[in-house]
Amino acid sequence: MTSKTEVLGDIGGRGLHWDGQPPVPTEEQANSFGNNSSGNQLKLSIGCEDDEESLSEDELRERYRAWTLSQVRPAPPPVQQEQAQEIRVFQAEDEEFLPMPSSLPEDFGNELSQLLRDNRPLFQTLHDDHIAEEVWQRKPPKILNKYLFGDVIGEGSYAKVKEVVQEDTLMRCAVKIYKDRRIKKIPNGPENVNSEKEIMRKVNHPHCIKMFEFFRLEEKTKQYMVLEFCVASLQEIVDTWEHKRFTPDWAHYFFRQLIAGIEYLHALSIVHKDIKPANLLVSPEGRLKISDFGVAEQMPLYQNDDTCTNVQGTPKFQPPEIVGGHNPTYKGFAVDLWASGVTLYNLLSGEYPFEGDVIMKLFENICWQPLEMPKTIELEEESQNLLTGLLEKDPMERLKMDQVKHHPWFAKAPIEEKFDWEKFVAAKGGNSSRQALSVFPSLAQLYNDQELESLDGDEGGSGDNDLQNPLAPQEEAPTASRQDQQRPNLVDSPPQSEHSASAFYRGYTLNLKWLCLNICSSLWLMMNKSDNFTYLLFTKFYDCIFFQYGLSIS
């Protein structure tokens, strides 16, 4: 037990310790979930541990709706306790709608005005489900290929990125969604997506983003690339720091990881070609991950050098040999090192080594303007020296990977602190969207409702409940996608004749799953953490319970 607690505390990295009991239910508690009164069931349905002994169904609805709404409402500052509280008890009376950020969905205004219509008090118990159902119908939980979809967390010229949770493993991932129509409009679009996929399949390194799966859904005419989940890009993070720059220690910390990642890629004969802070993501553990291999090039295995011809990337980060346009070919590895130099320059100072109002001016400066050290900050001599070496205009004279790794500034001991997300989240106005699980509202819909239904079933309610999901999107139901839209089920549906028992059974198993999700997410919020490991740990835990009790029921 102690060792487990230690491990968890360690992941948290913030010295969170539970004394003694980890928040895992005892056997007895777990047992009581299935075969007990609705009081217990409801207890499960809310994010964290509840103090109240029992809750009425109305109260449940209220919380439920609060959950859905709380996702679009700007969240309060991310003090952990408060976040946890937000899930636990939604204090309807105290809540006000703050001015909406521009990123809200378009239809939010409509929803809001409907909510406010008739001067209906906002969060009072509603005796008909009218409004709640409307919200549900508009955004039914989306499950594709075993991934439950959450919010959009990023968008690029090629694809949209959404947060997802894998249904079986409960692993939190990001999925990059390529729309066929959009890709076709981009010159070289389909080829680039393809080469990105090929490269991602090979890459497996702690400082490169990992692809778990790539699939295509014909009926959607979209392709999906499932990736490791990351919290933010280095660009987003550095923008929240004072003067938009890191302290030298943190710049050093990230730069070392960047170089480790680039070295790995180069060993695999991959030239990234688009190294820049916006393409460097940071995982929940504070680890840098090189991402976006859209323009990366895999050089042939039997080619002895790193000569490339294809020019793509971001002008501000390109070296003279590319922007000068005089050379038909160039050395790929040197290009990535130049770009990492520009990145380091930017991280250390918040400035760029070369700028220009128009692109031709920028190119001219990159080629001819002598390198000047940042004006707004005096850099350490050693880091200046490294920058000079990396931003050497002649690619042959530029520092090589090995020289970078032996550079005194690079070789010094890295900072020992753990990367702390709090500052970032605070700077983002406390918007916790990147911290809390954005699939949560969907989960709430899926599992909460299931419990109610299965209770109905138990009381000898209508037989349809078990077969038809009233919340499932009925408007578009081609056979293929219907399968996709079904709720995640842990067990194959038992025969209809045993309907009542099966409803109970299903409700029961789902309860357990739901319970674990609750533990995961509350843990998560407590630790202000969102790493896959915690997730996996609890999946394991959940498997244990399921195995034990799932079998004993039948």
Partner: protein, 333 residues
């Protein structure tokens, strides 16, 4: 001055190291007092750990740690600890590894004092390698070795010492955990520092691959499989370009891979495929290689067409397989 509550902590680092050393000298003498000394060592190691990692709930005092490190170097305690490792208690062995690894990670600016210390005394590293011959300390020595290998200077020392070739026997010892520990150390040695490793493999190509071939032909399934996988990684690493071209020009290597493709074990077949493909996809196949492939053209195409057809999920594998089949079919004599 308030007295510390716990007796241990008032000893200065110099005293602790001195006491530790005295106890170690006792053990080396090996007389009847040595039992007592072993306990002493155990005690002092705990104190050292307390200084390095901090007492309960307290951060370590960096000044004390620096002093302790300095004393350790001055008194040459590290080589004694490692030399007598097998005689120490179980817990003490683990403590030694922990202390050693911690000291190795210490950095002052760009300097790593322990690395410098070890560079000047390579015999310590060699003693660690020899540790694989003693089952009771093999894994402990392994963890210390891998910590050393993280530093390129030390990795270089280890690579270029003749004891490096002992690893080829260590990875095949009968005890599974020792063998696999040795293999991961071996792997770190030849992959961690790309330029150093590439240079080493290039200059010692014949000797190294002469030995390596034995691993690929080993009786031991695990050795065969692990070494095959590592071979694939080595050849596909760009730093080893020269090694790769040399390896794929040798018809004996091709024959070996073709035999491994027909192994009973599916996993070995699969790993062999990933080396075999490097021979076939080469646009400039040397004559002897091309001859072998040509001679077996029909059979290879047949074989590959039915090779691991159940791997429908693995797109990359299927693409590569199709590519190889096409390459072989299109070969002209």
């Amino acid at each position: 001055m308030p007295l510390p509550i716990f007796g241990k902590s008032h000893k200065s680092p110099a005293d602790v190291v001195k006491n530790l050393k005295e106890a170690l000298v006792q053990i080396e003498k090996g007389d009847k007092k040595s039992d007592k000394a072993i306990e002493e060592v155990n005690k002092w190691l705990q104190t050292v750990k307390g200084i390095i990692y901090g007492q309960e709930g307290q951060e370590p005092n960096s000044e004390q740690v620096a002093q302790l490190a300095q004393e350790t170097y001055n008194a040459n305690v590290l080589p004694m600890l490692i030399k007598n490792l097998a005689k120490l208690e179980f817990e003490s062995k683990k403590d030694v590894a922990q202390i050693f690894n911690n000291l190795l990670r210490r950095q002052i600016g760009t300097r790593s004092p322990t690395v410098e210390y070890l560079c000047a005394r390579p015999e310590i590293l060699i003693t660690l390698v020899k540790g694989y011959e003693m089952p009771e300390i093999a894994v402990t020595c392994g963890s210390m070795l891998r910590e050393c290998i993280r530093h390129d200077h030390l990795a270089k020392v280890l690579l270029h010492h003749e004891s490096f070739y002992h690893f080829f026997t260590y990875v095949e010892v009968s005890s599974f955990d020792i063998a696999s520990d040795a293999f991961s150390t071996f792997k770190d040695l030849i992959t961690k520092h790309k330029t150093i490793c590439a240079e080493f493999l290039d200059t010692n190509y014949d000797k190294f691959f002469g030995e390596y071939q034995k691993l690929l032909n080993s009786e031991n399934y695990v050795t065969r499989r692990q070494s095959l996988k590592l071979l694939g990684e080595l050849l596909l690493d760009r730093h080893n370009f020269n090694v790769m071209t040399r390896y794929i020009s040798n018809p004996d290597n091709l024959k070996l891979m073709m035999n491994l493709l027909r192994e009973k074990s599916k996993s070995i077949q699969f790993e062999a495929f990933h080396v075999f493909k490097v021979f076939v996809a080469n646009p400039n196949k040397p004559r002897p290689i091309a001859d072998i492939l040509l001679r077996n053209r029909e059979r290879l195409v047949d074989f590959l067409s039915n090779f691991h057809n159940d791997r429908t999920e693995d797109e990359q594998f299927n693409d590569e397989k199709a590519y190889l089949i096409k390459q072989i079919q299109e070969m002209r004599a």
